[in-house]
Structures are given as C-alpha cells and as structure tokens.
Symmetry: C2
Subunit: 303 residues, 2 copies
C-alpha cells in the first residue's frame, strides 16, 4: 500500500528529496523555516459516526496549515505520519490527506505508516517566512490596535451540530451545505495570512479552538486587554457557535493600519476583513459586548 | 501542565521562536532543510510492561534523530505532538522526550498536547544539510563500493529479550546492562552521520528495522546488489538479533573511499567503522554468508 501511494507522489524539484528516503529534504532559503505538527485521533478530533477517514485526513492537513497561515508563512511541504489498527487500510485517510494538500496547493513530501489501536494521524507542515515581513506571532498586539477577522465564524460548529442531527448536504439549503463542508473539509486561510503579513499586521492567531479562547491566548501572549464589540456569525451558525466553536480557521489579525490591511485584501481578491474590536492597555480587561469575554474550551469535532 | 512544561523550554536565539506560538520558527540557512516525522504508540512501538512512558518518549526522539543522522544532516530542533488518554499525565512522556533531546544536544522547539485512547507521540525533527556535502540518500551506492557499519548490531533486540525475561540492570554484567540501555534509551549516531557525509560516503541508511531489511531497502533504492560477508554482533546479542533486530540505529555507510571514512572517524574520536560487505552490480543478488539475505520484518519494541 505504502509503495503504491508513494509512487503517486512526485519526487520534488532538483536538489530536493521527498518521499522514499530516511527524511525529506526541502529548499527553504532565503528566509526562516516555520514548522508545526498536529495530531488527529479518530474519536477525539473526528467522530467517525459522521466524518469519514478521508475527512479526518483533510481536517488534519487544514489544521496544521492554518498554523502556518497564522504566522504569515508560506507552506513548502507536509509530512503525514499515519498509524492504523492492524488490518485496516490506510488508503482512505491518505486520500483525504492528499486531497487536502492538493486543495491548499501544498505537496506531501514524506511520511510514515505504523500501527495504533485507532486511526491516528500526525501532520507536520513546513513553511518559509519571508525576511521582508518575518513571521507574525501572537505577541505583537499593542494598545489602540484594531482587531479584524478574515471571515465570519461558527460554520464548523454549526456543521457539527447539523451532522449530529443527521443532516446531509443532499437537498440542503446553501447555508446548511456550506456549514457541513466547513466542518468536514475546512480550509486554511493561507493567502489571507500572507497578505496580512505583507500588509503590516502586528499579531495574528487562527481560530482553532474558538474565538473567545484564541483571543485570550493572543492577549495573554501580547500582555494586553481586548474589547470584542462585534461578532460576525456565519450563515446557519448561532452566536454561541461563532464565539466558542473552533476549527473555523479564520484569522484574527491585529493591526495599527486597518486601511492598509483592507487594501491588501482587496488587491488579492479576498473578502474585506471584518473589524471586531480593539486592543486595550490593561491586560486584565477582556470584554465582549460589555460583559466578560469567556475563556471557553472547545471539543474537537466529536460528540 | 503544558504551561509548566513550556516554561521550562528556552525561547530560542534572536530571530527564532520556539514554543508558545502557532508554529515554531527556526533559522536553517545556509543549506537545505531536512525533516522527518515518526509516530510512537504505546503497545505498538513500546510495550509498557517493560518500558516506561519516559522510555517511549526517549525512543521516539532517538528514532527520529536517527533519520537525520542517516542523511548526514545536522539537527536543528524537534517538535513533540503528544496525545494521552483522558486524565493521564503527559509529564512522564515529555520528561523522556526532553531527556532524549538533551542527550542528543537538540532543543525541543514546539509541540502539541491532545487526547488519544493510548499514549501516542509524534516526534518531528528538523535539520540542515550543509551545501558542502549535501544530504546523503539511500540511492547513491555503486558496484564495487564498500559497505561499513558504525557499530555492532543486535543490542536493542537482545535488550528486549532480556526485559521480557524479567532481567534488570541492577547487578547485571556489563554486556546485559548495555543491552537493556540500548533498548530503553537508544542513541542516534548523529556525529557519525555528519562525519560520514564529510568523508565522502555515497549512500547511507540507519538500522531501524533490522540490517537485513534495511540493506535490502538501500539496495532497492540504489538499484544494486549486495554481498554481506561479516556481521558484527553486539555483546549479549545473537547472530539472529544482529541480522534481524531493529532500533540499533547504527549507520550503514557505503563508500568508494573506506580509508577516508576511517580517517574521518578516527579524527572525530569515533570507533573504527566496521567493513561488512560490498555492493554488486546485479540488483538481483542479495547474499549473506553465501546464502540469500533474508528480507525480514521487525516487531517494534513489543512482545
């Protein structure tokens, strides 16, 4: 199986080596290497009652690539380490990994197959950060900065609710169908992340565990407070899902130059960034609509 | 727990970012980036009847770093993605990861904590390959080349046999104690790999799944035959363990200049490389002691 799948992978440009050796070799220069590694475990990160093994593979790829987007890094390649129960076919997970990688325009350059009691996938993504604007961290937010989102939130959480209720995309209205796709086949905002980096954002984080929690994390890292005044809710989602639902992979962008960010997004053909609040000096103040911003956890893709 | 462990990690030199953001940022230039990712699953790669969770962490680190050694790459950093059963403490595994990383002189730069039904660890290692000698693949062996080993084999398999038999290091003779350590706390041959690269080796592979199988893989990738004439057996190990046992992480080095390799090893204070055979033109010929070289699989650290 491995040999058959590896044969489908390209061997990479001259000077690089992808699958087939002890490790993958990639050109990164000039710039810095940005790397992130995410685990996806069946039953924990994806409930196989309503998600397929291919969905599990795609979702892990999108989640890992989203970490690069949130650093304003350009993806260079990804590795998939897959462990399956004895006798189970790894092909469906790897089909999902390949489809997700292809949808994001990122090559699969290596991996590993082994055994585990439940399907377990580790996706590692490698990217480069251009020297011109460097990696964008969570820690650069300053008092007075504006907070913007790359898109509305809650679609993935709404999709999970609809899947649990037995809804399918067949015959569904467009908002429901979009929510189901958002949960099963999310997309990392790679272009938005790069454009944001080029457009002078000071801090960024991707919404992987829910806006409320991820906004707290950004504020913690930057040593600032935040006032969330607006919350763009995806069609079919509730306010609760937009505030606490994870895996939307929209980007939270913090900048002193919101017009420059908007202009950059417009030039790249991206939807207008959505202003949602501002950064405060007092790190103790974390507000949403006048009340406290909840520090709310998130259940990954499972019931 | 994560915060406590992250607080113990250094934040890296200026320009780099290790733990604490969406992804880790590393300087790689000048050279090429070499990356490998390995999964370790309790009960599959490590049997917790005789190995500790810290052993599982250490072993995964050594196995991943060994892939860099086999490419003649210099390690730059590693990431650990750990999934544990609900309520279980990740600290022991991470202690083992940190100890293994430290023993190899490689910083832990990032990671991820999540949930899985059994302890599951994904270690990703990042390295750089110097432009002077480039990454050394499995595919460079040519007819007439010599095959050498960085050390004797079978210690890890012997250690597993002794652990299964209930042996412990306390009061054991040095050969038994060394075998137990070789299984519980293996070392990647990072220095040997770099010296081999600098000394003109043409092809390399690490012994992770047993010499017989890994030699077949190298011969397959190079499109050559091999004649194995000698087999250095570690103290306490059997010939069978030396030929088929995995996770010794010694390096198989193929070169047309064995004297240059020996001189390089001597200058670096490494034990003399051990000649074990030669490369043949006919890819159909794979021999060991006059008979066929078995293409034998390997059971990872479990009974």
């Amino acid at each position: 199986v491995l040999a058959r799948l590896l044969a489908r992978l390209p061997s990479g440009p001259p000077g690089e080596r992808w699958a087939g050796d002890d490790a993958a070799v990639l050109e990164i220069a000039p710039g810095r290497c940005v790397v992130s590694s995410d685990l996806a475990v069946a039953g924990v990160h994806a409930d196989l009652r309503w998600l397929s093994l291919a969905d599990l593979g795609w979702r892990a790829v999108a989640g890992a690539l989203s970490d690069l987007a949130a650093m304003a890094a350009e993806p260079v390649g990804l590795l998939a380490g897959l462990a399956m129960p004895a006798g189970a076919d790894p092909e469906e997970v790897l089909e999902g990994v390949l489809a997700g990688a292809e949808a994001h325009g990122v090559p699969l350059v290596g991996g590993d197959l082994s055994e585990a009691p439940v399907p377990t996938l580790c996706v590692t993504v490698l990217g480069r950060s251009a020297r011109a604007f460097g990696p964008v961290g969570r820690d650069g937010a300053r008092p007075g900065d504006q907070i913007l989102l790359s898109g509305p939130l809650g679609a993935s959480a709404a999709g999970l609710r609809l899947l649990r209720a037995g809804r399918s995309a067949a015959g569904a209205d467009p908002a429901v169908a979009a929510a189901l796709v958002a949960h099963r086949r999310p997309r990392a905002q790679l272009v938005a992340g790069l454009v944001a980096g080029r457009s002078g954002v000071r801090a960024m984080i991707d919404v992987s565990d829910g806006l409320a929690l991820d906004l707290h994390r950004l504020a913690d890292a930057s040593g600032v407070g935040v006032d969330l005044v607006d919350l763009p809710v995806a069609p079919a989602a509730t306010v609760e899902e937009a505030l606490g639902g994870g895996e939307d992979y929209q980007l939270v962008m913090v900048t002193a130059q919101p017009e420059r960010l908007s202009a950059g997004f417009a030039r790249a053909g991206l939807p207008e960034p959505i202003p949602v609040g501002r950064v405060l000096a007092d790190p103790e103040v974390r507000t949403w609509g006048g009340g406290p911003l909840p520090r709310r956890g998130y259940q990954h893709g499972t019931g």
